[in-house]
């Protein structure tokens, strides 16, 4: 049309949306997720006060307030983050989060939308009923190697997708950011998609555990190798059942696996003269833990209870020097990986997850 007047002769205007910031929730059509119908809603108008049904177990405030979208009745998980920001920053964050809509992978948790309300941002994502692997671990103790294999494949694929398609690094690979559901799917969440968001967070967390690579702890630039280290460390934790720093002693392994001490053969690196076990493993200072990660030997698996393949796989990831560490590509060609790569386990893992949903935690 030519003249401006003509453009809107009847003076029509769209009603303002309640939440201008909210994204359209066209959840991507993800393959193979059956529990939550994904083609629905476009606007999230009613979501500022969703019906929230609290989960019986809170994950962390970062995760999992289970809620239901009023309009469509979809169950989703809502993450609430408190920010302190200026309005201009707010726009940027929402823009950055929009990237999440593009994420469309069987290994990445689905994203419905996000909205900012006052100084809080809510991120709504796919609800994974099996919750996260760290909770599963608390219930089950340790995971058998075959499941860990399946998990590794999923995570490596997820990381590859993030790096290649979305061009971002995860930055926070750890068991609590790996979600599972009763379909046997394993998906990654909580990746660092919005730098602005991270910077605007009003409060910070000083973690009592660190999955960060040694070079990252000493301040270097972040690369994909650091993600690989975190991945390797997470695998070791899943396999032995506890956070692997400081490395368990022979006695500990013995009690974990119910064998006598002399049957445990620690990896060579642990018998180095540099190895100094911490003063009181029960409650280390965070500094001591970090110092151990940076200066101590990398975590390893005891030889007897795990196959050589997984021991090799893990040790490739857990090299102190990032240059020596495996890359995503080399991991995909590793024996351990190929073993589980397209392995159809006949729903074994799915059943396992279903079983764990109702278990209580072992020791908090």
């Amino acid at each position: 049309m030519s003249s401006g007047k003509r453009r809107n002769p009847l003076g029509l205007s769209l009603p303002p949306t309640v939440n201008e910031q909210s994204e359209s929730g066209e959840a991507a059509a993800e393959e193979a997720t059956a529990t939550v119908p994904l083609e629905e809603q476009l606007k999230k108008l009613g979501l500022t006060e969703p019906q929230t049904q609290r989960l019986s177990e809170f994950l962390q405030a970062k995760e999992g307030i289970k809620c239901v979208h009023k309009k469509t009745g979809v169950i989703m998980a809502r993450k609430l983050v408190h920010l302190e920001i200026k309005p201009s920053v707010r726009q940027q964050i929402v823009k950055e989060l929009a990237v999440l809509h593009k994420c469309n992978s069987p290994f990445i948790v689905g994203f419905y939308g996000a909205f900012v309300d006052n100084n809080d941002i809510s991120i709504c994502m796919e609800y994974m009923d099996g919750l996260s692997l760290d909770i599963v671990l608390k219930k089950v103790g340790r995971l058998p190697e075959k499941f860990v294999g399946r998990i590794s494949v999923a995570v490596v694929r997820g990381l590859t997708y993030l790096k290649d398609e979305i061009k971002i690094l995860h930055r926070d690979v750890k068991p609590s950011n790996m979600l599972v559901n009763s379909n046997g799917e394993i998906k990654l969440c909580d990746f660092g998609v919005s730098g602005m968001l991270i910077d605007s967070m009003a409060n910070s967390f000083v973690g009592t555990r660190s999955y960060m690579a040694p070079e990252r702890l000493t301040g270097s630039h972040y690369t994909i190798s650091s993600d690989i280290w975190s991945f390797g460390l997470s695998l070791v934790e899943l396999l032995i059942g506890r956070y692997p720093v400081p490395a368990p002693s022979q006695a500990e392994y013995a009690s974990m696996f119910n064998v006598s001490e002399n049957e445990i053969e620690l990896a060579d690196s642990l018998e180095e003269p540099n190895y100094h076990p911490p003063s009181n493993p029960a409650s280390m200072a965070i500094f001591e833990m970090l110092d151990y990660i940076v200066n101590g030997p990398p975590p390893t698996l005891p030889k007897r209870f795990f196959t050589d393949e997984v021991i090799g796989f893990v040790s490739k990831c857990l090299r102190k020097l990032p240059s020596e560490r495996a890359t995503l590509k080399s991991l995909t060609s590793d024996v351990f990986f190929t073993q589980y790569a397209d392995n159809d386990d006949q729903g074994e893992f799915a059943d396992f997850v279903k079983a764990t949903i109702n278990l209580p935690k072992l020791n908090p």
Binding site: S176, F205, V206, G207, T208, R209, M212, G219, F287
Partner: protein, 767 residues
């Protein structure tokens, strides 16, 4: 065998050995009892500060057992044995016990006679690990407190002997607004006691002594004494021939004959003189307190909120006196009233292990009672003690501080609305404990905050504001949100900032009030131009918070530096730094640690006035809440500002009962001050853009923040970097900093070039 001061015991006559068969048997039984009891408890339950009922019972049993043994009398070997049993129970290894013995801690007496500080260094020398050391220290304190509590209970049971002299000033016009009854009482006993002490005198003894015996004269003539009252008991003397009273020839005091024995050596002790003595005594002892925090009971005193705010222990006692001016409190066994999170005080009382030598008959110590009204009889005192003990629990309804020890209904200036009785007898007897006639100055019960003197502090009631009297801004009430609460703008006779604190970290709602009080009671003691003016507290509707004055247009230093991004020039930086320095130094003098000094907590009312706020709140308990096992939830740049020793102290596990609080000190405040100063000079946060873990690692390794190229005199830079010294002692003190800030900038002025061209010098040399 020598039992305790109260010596009514049948053993009082110097039975020099445990030689009678009855004794031996009794002892064996007692020892066995003790062993049995000790087996029953676990060390954790014993040492947790939340005393559950059954734990208390067990402890009582332990002490009964020990007490029994002391009655029976012990030789050295047996004392050692008990010692060993005790320490094993505490959790020390045999090697540790041997080490302690070598350091001559062979019995409880020795254990109690060394200070906390010495015990710590002893433990370090013996290479006790952190856990064991802590257990040792805590158990010692607990032991002492229980001993004393038990002891005083025993005292009440025993008949009051005739040797409780008291001195009462007769003068009803005697107006000592700053002295209260009991304070005088205490002083007198302390000063008097030393005079009549047996050869051993306590460490903390006062050198002030008033020990002049009266010259009593009983007249045989008829004496008319219709109006006169006895100095001691305030009852009228008889008249005519039926008198039973005596008069001192020098000071003219008249007392009943039966009261005479209790009067003691106070001839010439007028109220004025007493006041003088009292002041001197206070100064001396408090001089000690201010100067040397370590000598104060509980060497971790700075970190225990109950010590930091010296009146909190008193606050916690349950009196509801309103605005009682001079109302010192003697809570019945302070330890019992302090909340679970603080370690009990280590008092300087001695454990009275009876020696095998006989004690000479000692005098019961005199108690000075200056009353303006009725003088309570001993039965009244006893009753009050019982009443108080019943009501001495912290139910969170604590309204005001201070109780009067000997409850004086009509004492000058205090109008008790609901006078709740105080543990007078127990307090009194604290000073009557020692077998050898001396006693120690109960320092932590008496300090500047309990006595309404020149440094009087507001009682709780005076500073309570009702939340509904504050009007909140309708539109945008919230002006800030922090990790621990929010700040609202309000109007209460002027613009105010209302800070509402989140108390969720205390799950037990009934304990929240008391915890809140502990955390914030330091605010009401601050009066300084550069500290945000505190107006009042409120604690209603489950909201806990305080009201501070707000000056419109004030913004935080953080906003100025990082949001507005203004570059501060050197003179302004200096001015701001000096004001911060003065404010923090004031806080330190008041024994308040800031613990969270950072640019967000520094407000600039205008370019020339700095106000600091939000001190004393940070604690591990707060940071560990909500209980996510995998992290602490802190404010955004918390790790940037913490000193290395704090950073190194954060543990991977947090346990409400076991974990020690962060070791904040004055020097850690100085470190944070350095960080703020850095921010002002560079416009960057120290360790900007690093992750919390990286910062912890760096701080632990001694890595200091980088200095970009800025125009700054090298001495200032040096001073700043010195604030970041890993070794606490090497950090400059605030007075050093203040001094240097003044001189360095003065030097700068000298360097200014003259405003006329100077022929002789070249351009370069002028600048």
């Amino acid at each position: 065998m020598k039992s305790q001061t109260l010596t009514r015991s049948p053993y009082a006559n110097g039975n020099n050995g445990n030689l009678t068969p009855a004794n031996i048997e009794a002892k064996a039984i007692a020892v066995q009892n003790l062993k049995d009891v000790l087996k029953l408890t676990t060390i954790n339950r014993f040492l947790t500060s939340t005393y559950e009922e059954d734990a208390k019972i067990v402890e009582r049993k332990i002490f009964t057992a020990v007490y029994q043994m002391t009655k029976v009398g012990l030789i050295d070997r047996e004392k050692r044995e008990i010692n060993a049993i005790w320490f094993t129970f505490v959790g020390l290894s045999a090697q540790n016990i041997r080490h302690l013995e070598i350091c001559s801690i062979t019995d409880f007496n020795a254990l109690f006679s060394i200070t906390n500080q010495e015990l710590r260094s002893l433990a370090d020398r013996g290479r006790l690990d952190v856990e064991t050391k802590r257990k040792l220290l805590q158990s010692t304190v607990i032991l002492q407190n229980h001993w004393n509590a038990y002891h005083s209970r025993k005292v009440v049971d025993e008949p009051a002997g005739p040797s409780t002299p008291a001195i009462i000033t007769p003068n009803p016009q005697f107006n000592v607004p700053s002295l209260s009854v009991t304070s005088a009482k205490m002083i007198q006993s302390s000063s008097m006691g030393f005079a009549s002490a047996a050869p051993k005198s306590p460490k903390a003894s006062s050198r002030l002594v008033h020990a002049i015996p009266h010259k009593w004269h009983r007249s045989t003539k008829f004496r008319f004494s219709g109006d006169a009252v006895c100095h001691f008991c305030q009852r009228p003397l008889g008249f005519g021939f039926l008198n039973a009273w005596e008069k001192c020839r020098s000071c003219k005091w008249k007392v009943h004959t039966q009261c005479k024995g209790r009067v003691g050596d106070s001839c010439g002790l007028t109220p004025d003189h007493l006041r003088f003595l009292f002041d001197k005594l206070i100064q001396e002892n408090n001089g000690g307190m201010w100067k040397d925090p370590q000598s104060v009971p509980g060497s971790r005193s700075m970190n225990e909120p109950a010590f930091q705010f010296p009146d909190t222990a008193i606050d916690s006692s349950s009196s509801t006196n309103s605005s009682a001016p001079s109302t010192p409190a003697l809570p019945a066994g302070i330890t019992g009233n302090v909340t679970s999170l603080t370690a009990p005080y280590r008092s300087e009382r001695k454990f009275l292990f009876p020696d095998t030598e006989s004690y000479s008959g000692h005098n019961r110590l005199p108690i000075l009672v200056i009353s303006e009204g009725d003088h309570p009889t001993s039965t009244e005192i006893q009753q009050e003690t019982e009443n108080h003990q019943k009501s001495a629990s912290l139910a969170g309804n604590i309204e005001s501080e201070g109780t009067i020890v000997a409850n004086q209904e009509d004492s000058v200036g205090s109008h008790d609305t609901e006078a709740e009785p105080a543990p007078s007898q127990e307090a009194v007897d604290k000073f009557n404990k020692r077998a050898d006639g001396g006693f120690t100055w109960e320092r932590h019960a008496w300090n500047m905050s309990t006595i309404r003197g020149p440094n009087a502090q507001a009682s709780w009631n005076e500073v309570t504001i009702q939340l509904d009297t504050i009007e909140f801004d309708k539109q945008q009430p919230i002006i800030g949100r922090g990790r621990f609460g929010q700040v609202l703008r309000g109007y209460h006779y002027g613009d105010v900032a209302v800070k509402i604190y989140n108390m969720d970290h205390i799950s037990d709602v009934s304990k929240r009030a008391e915890e809140f009080k502990l955390e914030v009671s330091s605010y009401k003691n601050t009066r300084h131009d550069n500290i945000a003016l505190f107006l009042g507290y409120f604690m209603n509707d489950g909201k806990y918070g305080m009201v501070m004055s707000l000056s419109r247009g004030s913004q935080s230093l953080y906003t100025l530096l990082h949001v507005v991004r203004e570059k501060l020039d050197l003179p302004t930086t200096r001015k701001i730094a000096q004001q911060i320095c003065q404010a923090v130094s004031y806080l330190h003098t008041k024994k308040i640690l800031h613990k969270d000094l950072r640019s967000k907590n520094i407000l600039l009312e205008n370019k020339n006035k700095v106000v600091i706020t939000d001190f004393g709140i940070v604690s591990l308990k707060r940071l560990a809440h909500p209980r996510w096992k995998s992290s602490y939830y802190t404010s955004k740049y918390w790790t940037n500002y913490i000193a290395p020793e704090i950073a190194m102290h954060i543990r991977t596990e947090y346990d409400e009962y076991e974990s020690e609080e962060l070791p904040f000190t004055e020097q850690s405040d100085i470190y944070s001050f350095g960080c703020v100063w850095y921010e002002m000079l560079t416009g960057l946060l120290p360790y900007e853009a690093e992750l919390p873990h990286t910062m912890i690692l760096m701080k632990g390794q001694g890595v200091k923040p980088l200095f970009p190229n800025i125009k700054c005199p090298p001495e200032l830079k040096e001073l700043l970097v010195a604030c970041w010294n890993t070794a606490q002692e090497e950090r400059p003190t605030l007075s050093d900093i203040n001094a240097k800030l003044t001189t360095i900038t003065k030097k700068q002025r000298v360097n200014r070039s003259p405003s006329f061209p100077v022929m002789m010098k070249s351009y370069e040399s002028t600048f």
